[in-house]
């Protein structure tokens, strides 16, 4: 735990890797539909709490690797992750001060923006997915936020 706190960059890589794994583990169809976008939550957290480490480059690389793992149009997640990370970095001083519920709401709207951008890019590149279930991870992602932010906060805490 101490090691992680002293090497926040290592923490970011480990967290991103675990998020990628969680996103790729096969689950039954119904549970899969509500699986939150873990990697995006990690990107948001680092852009919010450690903007120097979890900057735009981190977001871009994470998105690119996610694209490669998912086999979707290359650059789709990279673009949306950068947009989200930019918004978070722009507002990070204010967002940090929000009470938890308020912050969760903010994260939920970010997840909504992400889904909307993905929806839009999917449409432009010819894979329109108009099923309503695509919006479910926005909700579950927001539910995961307090847990995730508490967990990462503990690991990154300097004692």
């Amino acid at each position: 735990m101490n090691g992680m706190a002293r090497h926040p960059r290592l923490l970011s890589v480990v967290a991103a890797f675990i998020a990628l794994l969680l996103g790729a583990i096969p689950l039954p169809h119904l549970i899969d539909l509500i699986r939150p976008d873990f990697l995006l939550l990690i990107v948001i957290w680092f852009a919010l709490m450690m903007p120097r480490i979890g900057g735009l480059g981190f977001a871009w690389l994470s998105g690119l690797i996610l694209d490669a793992v998912h086999g979707v149009v290359l650059g789709e997640n990279a673009l949306t992750f950068v947009v989200i990370a930019y918004i978070v970095q722009h507002l990070h001083l204010r967002m940090r001060m929000f009470p938890l519920l308020h912050q969760t709401m903010a994260v939920m709207s970010l997840l909504g923006i992400y889904q909307f951008l993905m929806f839009w890019i999917d449409g432009v590149t010819g894979h329109p997915m108009t099923l309503w279930v695509r919006w479910l991870p926005v909700l579950t992602g927001a539910i995961c936020w307090p847990l995730l932010s508490g967990l990462l906060g503990r690991y990154s805490a300097r004692n």
């Binding site: 990628l20 790729a24 169809h29 490669a68 650059g75 990279a78 673009l79 947009v83 890019i121």
Partner: protein, 304 residues
């Protein structure tokens, strides 16, 4: 960029403008990637590089289930193995019998085709592959298989399992390839209803156990339990492979088209071992050693 700098100068100017600048550059790079990837094939190198990065991750996700398989095989009881062996032997002999019948039929078919002077059908060769237990997209019905360009996989190859058509390959990396399943909402397969010979198109619904036939008029002769096979139109899937069975026909008097639901023949969400078909057109004149190229039956007999 000067405009951007002006607009953001209320906050600490140097940091924000450089943040905006970096965001712009990265967004432009991603957009260029999207366009390049969508438009052309110029990105195979980048994609292959990235899939090499993704490979260890895929293997890690794969590890628990393959480990479980190994453990299950190692500790399978002797009795269970005997039973399985007996059952397999029984199945094999039954299939052997069927195969003999099939051989005879195939030769007869070939003779008839020669009589009709029509082109013999292509003879597919198969290549085994294993589906990686990895989730790649929630909304799209796609899977990864452990065979890639190095194993001779190409884009657009039909993928089948023991019971029917699974899908086709959509993109091929060096070590893995992506397969779009029949149930993907963007996948359509030309099919034929076996009982009536009617041709139509089966489209995925996004649910692994449901396809739909959206283009059938309400008065079509179609019944529950009718079997669908691939019609061979479109040139991707060979004709006559099982696609599914009709589970539900709904005639809504207010709609011009019937709502027909199909259960895929292949276990799309449970399949593990699949076969990749390579359709090699049968040479027009059989083998150079065959004396008379006219009798197709003799040529097949010689080959066996």
């Amino acid at each position: 960029m000067a405009v951007l700098r002006q607009g953001e100068s209320r906050f600490s100017p140097s940091r924000l403008s450089s943040l905006g600048m970096r965001a712009m550059i990265l967004i432009a790079m991603s957009a260029a990637l999207i366009v390049a990837d969508y438009r052309g094939k110029g990105l195979t190198l980048v994609r292959n590089g990235l899939s090499m990065v993704a490979w260890p991750l895929q293997m890690m996700v794969q590890a628990p289930s393959s480990l479980w398989d190994d453990v299950a095989t190692t500790f399978a009881s002797r009795h269970a193995l005997f039973q399985e062996n007996a059952a397999l032997k029984k199945a094999a002999s039954a299939q052997q019998l069927k195969l003999l019948e099939f051989d005879a039929l195939q030769q007869e078919n070939l003779r008839l085709r020669t009589l009709l002077a029509s082109k013999p059908t292509a003879e597919p060769t198969t290549h085994a592959a294993r589906i990686l237990q990895i989730e790649i997209d929630r909304l799209r019905q796609r899977v990864l298989i452990d065979q890639g360009a190095q194993d001779g996989v190409v884009v657009g190859q039909p993928v089948i399992d023991a019971t029917g058509i699974v899908g086709q390959t959509t993109s091929v990396g060096p070590l893995t390839s992506e397969v779009i399943l029949l149930s993907d909402p963007t996948h359509a397969i030309p099919v034929q209803i076996q009982r009536t010979g009617l041709r139509t198109v089966a489209i995925g619904t996004g649910h692994p156990q449901r396809l739909s036939l959206p283009y059938l008029p309400r008065n079509t002769d179609i019944e529950v339990n009718d079997v669908l096979v691939s019609s061979g139109l479109g040139g991707v899937f060979p004709a006559g492979l099982p696609v599914g069975r009709i589970t539900e026909v709904h005639h809504d008097p207010s709609q011009p088209l019937a709502l027909v639901t199909v259960l895929p023949a292949a276990a799309l969400d449970r399949a593990q071992d699949v076969l990749l078909l390579t359709t090699v057109p049968r040479p027009e004149s059989p083998r150079p050693t065959t004396p008379e190229p006219k009798s197709g039956g003799a040529a097949t007999a010689k080959k066996r």
